[in-house]
Amino acid sequence: MLPVPSMDVVVFTLVALFMVGAACVVTFSRSLIYSAFALLAMLFGSAVIFGMLSADFVAVTQLLVYVGGILILILFAVMLTADIDRMNITNRSVHYKAAAPLALGLLLFMWAILPGASWRVVAEPVSQSVVAPIGNALLQEYLLPFEVISVLLLAALIGAVVLVRREVR
């Protein structure tokens, strides 16, 4: 009789297959719109993985920032720029003869070294909400990177506005 896999193994396997399939669509689809929506699916799967790893705050942030922000931006850029029906012109892939062996070699390399590594892990990881500890850590231990990254975010937003604004004489 086969051993019954535990619940987290089943969930992880399903989500991982879903994510890899979505990432394949992102990479190999010739239509950028399909790629953008597959990226949406991949990011949803990633949020589920974060939830499984007891990172609930990170999972919600992932949904808000990526799905609510970055993906909308990407969709706008796709629709504003390329003539998406002329995908053989705007979306042809290049250099695949060089890229495919390189990517495949990197994957095999990581595949080869992963089982040999011994990770020092704690005995049984705890699963609990981390929202309050993350808030405390952000305002105590990681206050400087937090402030620096907020200034960086402001600078990037101003830079983006300056880049795309129309010249006014």
């Binding site: 990432a23 991949m42 990407i74 390329a82 290049v94 992963l114 705890v126 990681y142 830079g159």
Partner: protein, 102 residues
């Protein structure tokens, strides 16, 4: 009995390699940007997995938040550049925007 960190690393490696292939082969600049998002997400999965199974669970999650914010800034600036390139060249083929080449 939990799964351990290995399966998460395998998943992250596969997604990283797909993103790398995407970055190397796309001609469309927005497609390249999607590949970069895949790569950043693979790195974030690694950080959260190590944080969950490691000694200090908070550090990895905090830096994952920083990675997400950096991805947002990078997407904003990169898409602004893409729109500017499109206004100038009327396509966003990364092979053709070469006027900065010396």
């Amino acid at each position: 009995m939990s799964m351990g960190v290995g399966p998460y690393l395998v998943l992250s490696a596969v997604i990283f390699v797909l993103g790398l292939y995407n970055v190397m082969t796309r001609r469309n600049a927005v497609g390249v940007l999607m590949g970069i998002e895949l790569i950043l997400n693979a790195a974030a999965i690694n950080l959260v997995a190590f944080a969950h199974y490691g000694v200090n669970p908070l550090a990895g999650q905090v830096f994952t938040l920083f990675v997400i914010v950096l991805a947002a800034t990078e997407a904003a600036v990169a898409l602004a550049i893409v729109v500017t390139i499109y206004k100038r060249f009327h396509n966003i083929d990364v092979e053709e925007a070469t006027i900065l080449r010396g």
